[in-house]
Symmetry: C2
Subunit: 373 residues, 2 copies
């Protein structure tokens, strides 16, 4: 993490202020400003604003809030933060059930303006707890893709120990080409390096059998690409072969590459199963008067466990491959989850995730067949 | 379940006996004989033979064991079962890491001969704890596909309440066509009817978003087929739309249809996450002397929970769409898991799962474009 920026040195923006009115002392990567979509998420704007304030106050992370001034300003005011945290007006918002078409439908939504702030250099990262599909669509439209990148991808950190495991793509692109999966290995490795300080991250390919020939056509071709010579100036991948669904939480590798359809299903299955199993355990140890008595002795341990396996602790998913950094918090985020997501965004931005990805992908040689991103 | 067959009325086979030496009183569906692959699984033959004996003794399920007489006969002898349970010799066995090519490589393996017994009418179902890839490959080669079926699929029962949820395909076919997924809905519905007595099972399509347009190309096309008019004599599917990975354990639908790649990843993610979360809980409630003291009050509840979420309780996966019934137990099955798998095989056979699937698929009209199965 970067040195915390001294609170108070950020210009307090006026609602309705023109986007191009940049702070003249625009922060470098050491002082990343996080553009927080105050209107995205089930508990927006209250919990999101509260989380942003926590990130600013307790962790020294400079934030700018984007949202409806009529709703957001009273929240800042109540916290005594009107002069300290900049507010950029966005009257339009995106509902949680809106998808990728949002990017065209809502050019003035809070998430679109948050991305625009990064594009204009007024912020270095975006944080939103809104609809994943909408954020991915808007970010792909508003933010430049890194040179040579085929498609961005969504990375999530799974709670393995001692360091988390990065699952990529967790749902940005539903029908990718094998070459994209090979690039996801670079994106995921950069993420593991920047966010968790892992050197030469071990990369596994999610498939349905450990042997090289296992999987569907896409996975088999991606395996070939990942095992092959990746030269062309790209940093070599530390490829460990296929992994299976059962390896997501074993820490067998640092990065697990997969396509967005299977990756999203795996992630949601993991979250649902962890919640289901935890409920079953809770029901068991509270299932009789005697068993409930036992929990009196376990209070401290059970509370620590709850915090450890709470998805809100992990800051959410990161959309990788675009300029700046984009963090998507859980839709149900409370202030705690929003603050953790702001911190993840600040870490990615100050670790210069985009520059590291560009370096890993290697020098870009534009050619006649370059795919549109 | 059928009436238990009176033990002792099965001809005790000799090792090396020719396959065509059928029992003249060949059992009808009410007395399904389960052909048990004694050599498949991490704990074969000891635990598999013990499980088959349990199924026979305690649940009245007629079994025939297929395996190396030198290894299996002493186990039967020790249990006093030499005259009661038939043994068919198979000197070749399939290792746990062998895949689909086994079907060609090992024509005299125990799993191949088990399938052959069903094909010849000497048994009505196969049970094996061997390599899933090998069993699927061998069964597809040795057993007739039901008329009109495009591909068989692997169904597993997930531990939802009050009735289990059927996930299909859990990994038989890695690159299916949308039309196959539409048929999986019929296979899964027949399974839910026969194994769990569910009428008009609700069918969900596994995707990455609840709305109809969500998912990859395959899922979107399968959605159209499942929502459309399925007539042609097929029994209509009770289609409930898309479900997500988080719905696998909520019981929102009775059958979850997906392709084998994502399905296998979801299943293994679910199993891995349940084990991971359970380990975390155990570590927490045993994490200090005081917490451990609490478990003294919870012994009964924790034991009941362990039995309930133990994958061995559920009898394993069923390969559907072929003549007879094929049940694949967990590779790590102990006697308990093997017995449960024999019972599932007996239930599917006596419920005439194959006939029910044929009925659901509707009258088969062979045409010039019929796909090979």
């Amino acid at each position: 993490m970067s040195e915390p920026a001294p609170p108070g040195d950020r210009a307090a923006g006026e609602p309705g202020q023109h986007l191009a009115d940049g702070d003249p002392a625009a922060p470098g990567p050491a002082h990343p400003v996080i553009a927080v979509d105050a209107m995205g998420g089930d508990n927006a704007p209250e919990q999101i604003v509260a989380g942003a304030i926590t990130a600013y106050r307790e962790r020294g992370i400079p934030v700018v809030l984007i949202g409806r001034p009529g709703q957001v300003r009273p929240l800042l005011s109540r916290a005594g933060m009107v002069g300290a945290i900049r507010l950029v007006a966005a009257e339009d918002t995106v509902a949680m059930d809106e998808g990728a078409l949002t990017s065209w439908r809502r050019p003035r939504s809070s998430i679109a303006i948050a991305c625009q702030l990064v594009h204009l250099g007024q912020a270095t990262a975006v944080m939103s707890a809104g609809s994943t599909g909408a954020i991915v669509g808007v970010a792909r439209m508003r933010l430049r893709a890194l040179p040579g990148l085929l498609r961005p991808a969504l990375a999530v950190a799974l709670p393995t120990r001692p360091t988390p495991t990065v699952l990529i793509d967790a749902g940005a692109i539903a029908d990718p080409k094998p070459e994209m999966l090979a690039q996801y290995a670079q994106l995921g490795s950069a993420y593991a390096e920047v966010a968790f300080g892992i050197t030469e991250p071990r990369v596994g390919l999610l498939s349905i059998g450990a042997e090289p020939g296992k999987g569907n056509k896409l996975a088999r071709r991606a395996f070939e690409l990942l095992s092959g010579d990746q030269s062309h100036g790209a940093i070599p991948i530390n490829f460990a072969g296929n992994v299976e669904g059962g390896d997501l939480l074993t820490g067998a590798v640092d990065v697990i590459v997969t396509e967005g359809f299977a990756g999203n299903i795996a992630l949601k299955t993991l979250e649902g199963t962890a919640a289901f199993t935890a409920r079953q355990f809770r029901a068991a140890i509270e299932g009789s008067r005697s068993a409930r008595l036992g929990t009196v002795f376990q209070r401290r341990e059970l509370r620590a466990l709850r915090d450890r396996i709470d998805p809100e602790s992990y800051g959410g998913a990161a959309l990788l491959g675009l300029e700046g950094a984009v963090v998507i918090a859980h839709g149900a985020s409370t202030a705690r989850g929003a603050a953790a997501a702001c911190q993840l965004a600040a870490e990615l931005a100050s670790g210069q995730i985009a520059a590291r990805i560009a370096e890993r992908l290697g020098p870009h040689r534009p050619g006649p067949f370059r795919r549109r991103t």
